[in-house]
């Protein structure tokens, strides 16, 4: 959906080139195609320009130009998002932060780092690793996703059970506001002055402005790590084990659940050592002091056995630990071996509701004539049902979307949420009334108006719209151009 007239476009292109350089602007149709979707290829939208600034001043200048022209703009990192949050839903500019990818400063004494938004999440841990530090939030896409993108969605990951999500690690942000003004929200110290604007900005899905510098906490690597694999013959036993672990006063670093379909896909693809006939497995990680690590592991093992685990073993070596984690983190890729396509759901429920909700998920998906694989953050109740389907079969994608909506309704009904870490974006904007009242949404809209009064910054996201894909039926699936060229796969 392009918004500019053919005559206006060349003029604007020259202006953008003057701001960011001739090699920093894309506007040819085939170039724009690469940026028409994110990790959720269900939604597509074309921008007029993709712009690649290299400094905060350039970001500000581009945003001011967009304001002058009254054209919408949206920031984009690696495009690994799963809710369509970085799509140019109403045309205009995509501002890619991928050329702003430096670690600007590391202050080991105060355990903070200052980074640019285009820095790949994992690269920060690699940069500070040699000094014994790491960056805690670890989304499954951490090898590709950027810290700026993590800011937008307030990303989580397996280890957020113990260490918290992105916002718990962000102290300050330099931000280009939607009118182009450059401001600092928060700073380097732990306590903000005035409202916690950095805290409010994180998770605002790119609708409050564009982060250009980010002050994050870095943590000391734990002295010891212990990884336990518990295998169950029934999925309810695995769910019960999660509650049993919590009830014993243990807070592991991570508790991940993997169901049978997923185990089989992973074993077919990578052979990570999960038993293929298990109904479910829990991957549990403890970290912290070396002393008493055994005692804690024994408590975990006992809790799992009491819940009916048929086998509980601890990784004997770092290599075995890495292999078990590879199984968990590669699950999405492995689905490719058992299905032509799949859609990742993201919902959250109170932990005690796991057995009930997993049962409902399976019922709903089966009723739609589809299959589902579950691999998720059981410790904090963050579900990821992956609905498998064949996009070439007419009507199947619509059934997936419908099943997804029903699963979200179940999450809402048990007191949960419609997103734990992927965000609302375009995908779930119309599900917001499942958990928020009109008054809640009106208040959020006023907050947005304080940051983004003209609505040019990432329009069409987060808030429900009257007309949406969900109501009108999704577009037929087409493999993305970069998929057909073998340049990328969905994960």
């Amino acid at each position: 959906m392009a918004t500019l007239t053919a005559g206006r476009k060349p003029v604007l292109r020259r202006e953008l080139e003057a701001l960011v350089g001739a090699d920093g602007v894309l506007s040819e149709p085939d170039e724009l195609l690469v940026y028409e979707s994110d990790g959720l290829t269900l939604f597509r939208a074309l921008a007029d320009f993709i712009v690649f600034p290299t400094s905060v001043e350039q970001v500000s200048a581009v945003v001011r130009l967009a304001n002058r022209e009254a054209i919408p703009f949206v920031a984009r990192g690696a495009g690994t998002g799963l809710a369509g949050g970085c799509l140019p839903a109403e045309g205009g500019l995509v501002i890619s932060l991928m050329r702003m990818n430096r670690v600007l400063e590391v202050d080991y004494d105060n355990q903070i780092a200052v980074v640019e938004p285009g820095l790949v999440n994992l690269h920060l841990s690699q940069a500070v690793g040699p000094r014994g530090f790491y960056y805690a939030p670890d989304p499954s896409s951490q090898q590709a996703c950027t810290i700026g993108g993590n800011i937008a969605t307030n990303s989580g990951g397996p280890h957020t059970l113990k260490y918290g999500v992105t916002v718990n690690h962000v102290l300050g942000l330099e931000v280009v506001l939607p009118d182009g003004e450059i401001v600092w929200l928060g700073g380097r110290t732990r306590d903000a002055l005035g409202y916690d604007l950095a805290g409010v900005f994180v998770g605002s899905e790119g609708t409050f402005g564009i982060a250009t510098k980010i002050v994050v906490r870095i943590l000391r690597k734990p002295q010891a790590v212990k990884t336990v694999l518990a295998v169950f013959d029934r999925i309810e036993q695995a769910s019960a084990a999660v509650s049993a672990i919590i009830a014993r006063g243990l807070v592991p670093a991570a508790v991940e659940m993997i169901d049978q379909l997923t185990i089989q896909a992973v074993e077919d693809a990578f052979g990570c050592g999960y038993p293929r006939d298990a109904a479910a497995a829990l991957l549990i990680e403890l970290d912290g002091l070396a002393v008493a690590m055994e005692t804690q592991a024994e408590r975990i093992v006992a809790a799992c056995r009491d819940a009916g685990a048929r086998e509980v073993r601890t990784a004997a070596s770092e290599a075995e630990r890495q292999l078990l984690w590879k199984g968990r983190k590669s699950a999405f890729g492995a689905y490719g071996r058992v299905s032509p396509a799949y859609m990742v759901m993201d919902g959250v429920i109170p932990r005690t509701k796991l057995p009930y909700v997993l049962g409902r998920v399976n019922e709903i998906v089966a009723a739609h004539g589809l299959r589902v694989g579950n691999v998720f953050h059981a410790g904090d109740g963050n579900l990821h049902p992956n609905i498998l389907y064949d996009p070439r079969k007419p009507g199947e994608e619509a059934r997936v979307v419908d099943a997804g909506a029903q699963i979200m309704k179940v999450c809402a009904e048990v007191g949960g949420s419609i997103s734990g870490e992927h965000g609302i974006g375009l995908e779930k904007a119309d599900f917001m009334p499942f958990i928020f009242t009109a008054a809640d949404l009106a208040f959020m809209q006023r907050l947005k108006d304080a940051f983004n009064p003209r609505g040019l910054c990432n329009p069409g996201k987060v808030f429900p719209t009257r007309k949406s894909c969900v109501e009108t039926g999704p577009v037929a699936y087409r493999p993305h151009a970069i998929e057909t060229q073998g340049l990328a796969q969905r994960f």
């Binding site: 916002v167 600092w184 005035g194 409202y195 002295q223 008493a292 904090d380 928020f436």
Partner: protein, 437 residues
């Protein structure tokens, strides 16, 4: 019908206080027009809607422990007492979450949670008096924030009544949730200027098997500062790292020392034992004495050690600086006071750079100018340490001699825009907060 009659119709006559009943609710010399005690969220909403219609400002009031913070209100208006909203609404141990009404005291909430083996890992001072809603609104914290963070790390859902009397929810009841804007973050530390918190859902933790507090004495503050840096760089995982100068240490009844580091550990018994032993070897090279056990009762007094140092304080300031410069800031700040002939007391949650300082009053009718001058010096020290500083308590003449809150710069203008959007008629705690909000 006049406002007071309308309020009596909403909450019942017994819950509208007027006349001499208002004496406990005088705010820095200003007597409110009335104080009202609603008994439900709907009553809070109705009261605020009436006050807004009448153009009377509303001052939310929990335990009153932070009521002296900030700029005194131009008009006290209506004090909104939340103490009747004190129910523990929901506690599901298997979910490690609880929902409570805003008026429950921190002590009462913790007692109810502990009875089921869990706790809210937030330990602000004055727990017997401070309420959950007040602690969130003031972003109060205590020594265990070193390991467990502050309200922003624990609050997962919030219900507020807005300036126009609407009931609004943000966040939810699950520990991980990115649906919608993070309203819990917005209300933490907002001092009741954007909405009145009426209910909150928090993350909980299991009560640890064991917890221990030990003291390490130093001959010099700078040595203690070096020990803090060494401790942060070590494998130890303390849950508190509090630094006190001599007057603050004396206020807690500690043996006299130029600097005392109070370090807490929790976990399994063997973890605590190992860490206390390892602490000795971390601090010794910096000149720290052998760690000595402290009575558990001292935990809750740590955060207020500087405040409690003097019977008659002249002013109090909270400084937020980088952890690495805490001891330097304390030393420079005490010296700045000395140069103007004033005594001061300092304590800090050193590992997170949260510093509290108190000046001692000299005589009955003290001139505000030298006190304000010292506070300005302290603020400059905080800026030099990469942070900011605000006056958290002072008599009115001092508060009018320097800005109570630090300057929030360009972000301050954004805060004003947020206030204008969410409370356009300036009903909620007007004039109290940063940037004149």
């Amino acid at each position: 019908m006049p406002l007071l009659d309308k309020l009596r119709a909403i909450v019942g006559p017994a819950h509208v206080l007027a006349g001499t009943e208002l004496s406990p609710y005088v705010i820095e010399g200003r007597t409110p027009e009335a104080a009202v005690r609603p008994g439900s969220v709907d009553e809070v909403a109705a009261v605020i809607a009436q006050a807004a219609e009448a153009g009377v400002p509303v001052v939310p009031w929990g335990g009153g422990s932070a009521v002296g913070v900030g700029v005194p209100p131009a008009r006290a208006g209506l004090v909104l007492l939340l103490t009747r909203l004190s129910a523990l609404v929901e506690h599901e141990p298997g979910d490690l979450t609880a929902t409570a009404q805003a008026g429950v005291t921190v002590a009462a909430l913790q007692a109810a949670l502990r009875a089921r083996g869990q706790w809210l890992s937030l330990d602000p001072p004055d727990a017997a008096r401070a309420t959950l809603g007040g602690v969130l609104a003031a972003n109060a914290s205590g020594p265990r924030r070193h390991l467990y963070g502050t309200a922003r790390d624990l609050l997962i859902g919030v219900t507020v009544v807005t300036a126009d009397g609407a009931v609004v929810h943000g966040g939810g009841k699950v520990v991980k949730n990115v649906a919608g804007y993070d309203l819990p973050k917005l209300f933490i530390g907002s001092y009741g200027t954007l909405g009145v918190i009426v209910e909150a859902t928090v993350k909980l933790r299991p009560v640890p098997d064991e917890e221990r507090l030990v003291a390490v004495r130093f001959e010099r503050l700078e040595d203690a500062g070096a020990a803090v840096r060494a401790l942060l760089a070590s494998d130890l995982i303390p849950n508190a790292v509090d630094l006190m100068d001599a007057p603050a240490g004396a206020a807690l009844g500690l043996p006299p020392a130029p600097a005392t580091l109070a370090v807490g550990f929790d976990g399994l018994g063997e973890q605590v034992d190992w860490q206390v032993a390892a602490l000795a070897s971390v601090v010794a090279p910096c000149g720290g004495a052998k760690p000595a056990p402290l009575p558990p009762a001292l935990w809750e007094r740590l955060a207020a050690a500087a405040r409690d140092a003097f019977d008659a304080p002249a002013a109090m300031m909270t400084l937020s600086v980088l952890p690495g410069v805490v001891a330097d800031t304390m030393e420079q700040g005490a010296e700045a006071a000395r140069q103007r002939g004033l005594a001061s007391a300092w304590c800090a949650h050193a590992g997170v750079g949260h510093v509290t300082a108190t000046l001692r009053a000299e005589g009955e009718r003290q001139d505000a100018a030298p006190i304000a001058a010292v506070l300005e010096d302290w603020r400059a020290a905080a800026h030099a340490g990469g942070g900011h500083a605000s006056v958290t308590w002072a008599p009115l003449p001092v508060k009018s001699a320097l800005p109570v809150w630090d300057d929030a710069g360009a972000a301050g203008r954004l805060m004003q825009r947020i206030k204008a959007q969410l409370d356009p008629n300036n009903v909620l705690n007007p004039g109290r907060f940063v940037g004149g909000i």
